[in-house]
């Protein structure tokens, strides 16, 4: 069996032309920074090399001061976890949709749109997945500065 380190080395070679800042936080993990415009090409190369599967997409708000949101695409193969990190400005957060390559990512992207307020360009379905129908349009709960006003008001009723 191939070790996670060897698998990650193979992935690093596949991604060489698009890789930005690359780090290995743990022996079985590799984090590769990728610019938003290169994301599709990078994932296409991974799929072409038959490397792993998309296990999850994490939205990570770095806070108001940093002014950035990171979108993490976690690919797993065996024990190896490869994370493509795409940074996007908080004020105009946008990433391309990966659905044309990985159709099952639709649910992950719907979550990203409603929870983090990231525009996912080209995603097939922008409708609410988890949040209630009457949830305000401009409140993205998983952003660090989200004001969950409705809850506060109702708490005041007590």
């Amino acid at each position: 069996m191939t070790s996670p380190e060897e698998r990650l080395q193979a992935a690093q070679q596949v991604l060489a032309s698009w890789a930005g800042d690359t780090q290995s936080p743990e022996p079985n993990r590799l984090d590769v920074g990728v610019a938003a415009q290169n994301l599709i090409a990078a994932i296409e190369a991974l799929i072409g090399a038959r490397w792993g599967y998309l296990s999850a997409i994490t939205g990570l708000d770095l806070g108001v001061e940093a002014g950035q949101i990171e979108v993490l695409y976690h690919f797993c193969e065996g024990a190896a976890v490869l994370t493509l990190r795409v940074a996007t400005p908080r004020a105009s957060a946008s990433v391309p949709s990966v659905c044309p390559l990985i159709p099952s990512a639709s649910v992950f992207e719907r979550e990203l749109v409603e929870m983090m307020g990231i525009q996912v360009v080209g995603t097939p379905d922008n409708s609410r997945l988890f949040l209630a129908d009457d949830w305000p349009d401009d409140v993205y709960p998983l952003r660090k500065d989200a004001v969950l006003e409705r809850g506060v008001k109702e708490q005041g009723n007590e």
Binding site: P4, P25, E26, N28, R29, Y53, L54, S55, A56, T58, G59, L60, D61, L72, H74, C76, G78, A79, V81, T83, I102, P103, S104, S106, V107, F108, M115, D125, S127, R128, L129, F130, L131, A132, P141, L142, A146, G151, E154, Q155, N157, E158
Partner: protein, 396 residues
């Protein structure tokens, strides 16, 4: 199942749910039909969304454990364990081998309870209520074992950061072995029933078929994937806790239909029974816990565990304080839900509950802001709960 036929301009849309579309949990599906045949499907979740990912950001590391364990009432141990394994990795803590083995033991008992629960639900959806009643009667055996082991039937709370709370006594060990042997015999009977009963096979054989290629493309996980021949099991691919010492044999089927999903889950029960025996025979001696710091070193980690329904994925980030910076939870049902929408097309409307039940969906795992109101209709807050507890203790 609530059914009201809505006429669109060109097509008929049959809404199913949000009240118990198949099992007694909320999810909403809209099936477009041509006569009895489904031509399209969409899903809307969130009816049990509780905002847990947001809530943990304002709780400390210990409080978060209790909250995350309540993501799911069925695989609660999986959530607690995935979280603990991740946080321990960030803190660089060495968890004693006995604790890791006990985590495996509880996880496998939980898998037995979860698979038996599913067997009953799926049989019920097929209209086979005798199988439903028998499998749930037998499931009580493992529920009682879990209760005597951890003190709880559900939300066992076996984990703490740095180890486990409960130990295996000789009396408990013999009770578990006895219970498991009884269940093994029963499971043989169930395997025989689901593969030979003609009427039941009419509902499962060749229904909801998903090929290996489709399963891989849709990214399905767990028994649903393994029933389509995708060899993916985190216990084997990336052993965690004590699974490296207690290796698991993968259970696969090729057919990819509902029958294969029954066979895979029942055969996985036998693998769990074998593992439970092995862990009890070779339980390492020693401590149950190691001391954990209150603040966790800054960093990010990923923790993956094979839940009864497939891979559970946690991304955990610490900023060095006593609260988590961000915890992302991706549960197996979210991955598998896509397969329901994809495999529904071309099937009879009446097969939909079975196809949905076939992935063993867990909506509360999927959905994670519930508003709890008291009798007067006011919102119950965290602080008011705390006050209530204090008042209760004073009155005692």
């Amino acid at each position: 199942m609530s059914e009201a036929v809505v006429q669109d301009k060109k097509r008929f849309v049959v809404p199913i749910g949000p009240q118990h579309p198949a099992l007694k949990e909320p999810g909403h599906f809209e099936f477009t039909v041509d006569g009895e045949i489904v031509t399209g499907a969409t899903v809307r979740l969130g009816y049990a969304h509780r905002g847990i990912e947001k809530a943990v950001e304002s709780r400390n590391w210990t409080q978060s454990l209790y909250l995350l364990e309540r993501i799911c009432g069925i695989c609660s141990h999986v959530h607690a364990m995935t979280y603990c394994l991740g946080v321990e990795k960030l803190a660089g803590a060495e968890v004693p081998p006995r604790a890791q083995a006990i985590r495996v033991l509880v996880a496998e008992l939980e898998r037995v309870h979860s698979h038996l629960l599913w067997l009953g639900v799926a049989a019920h959806e097929a209209g086979f209520d005798t199988l439903f009643m028998y499998s749930w009667r037998d499931r009580e055996t493992v529920m009682d074992l879990l209760e005597s082991f951890t003190g709880n039937r559900v939300n066992y709370s076996a984990n703490i950061l740095g180890g486990v709370k409960c130990d295996v006594t000789p009396d408990l060990a013999s009770a578990i072995l006895k219970g498991v042997d009884f269940l093994e015999e029963r499971s043989r009977h169930y395997l025989n029933v689901v593969t030979t009963d003609e009427v039941f096979l009419q509902r499962t054989r060749g229904v909801g078929t998903m090929s290996k290629e489709v399963a891989e493309r849709l990214g399905v996980v767990g028994p649903t994937a393994r029933a389509s021949g995708v060899a993916r099991d985190i216990r084997i691919e990336a052993p965690y806790a004590a699974y490296a010492d207690f290796p698991v044999q993968i259970v696969l089927a090729e057919a990819g239909d509902l029958e294969a999903r029954f066979v895979v889950r029942i055969k996985e029960l036998f693998e769990s029974y074998r593992l439970i025996h092995e862990v009890i025979d070779k339980l390492p001696p020693g401590e149950l816990q190691t001391r954990m710091p209150r603040k966790i070193k800054a960093g990010e980690t990923i923790s993956r565990v094979e839940a009864p329904r497939g891979e559970a994925f946690y991304f955990i980030k610490s900023n060095g304080s006593d609260n988590p910076e961000r915890i992302k939870v991706r549960t197996p049902t979210l991955c598998n839900m896509g397969s329901v929408v994809a495999t529904a097309v071309g099937h009879q409307l009446a097969d939909m509950p079975m196809i949905l039940a076939g992935i063993d969906p867990c909506f509360s795992c999927n959905d994670r802001t519930v508003a709890v109101r008291d009798a007067a209709g006011a919102l119950v807050t965290w602080e008011s709960l705390r006050q209530r507890r204090l008042a209760h203790q004073e009155n005692k």
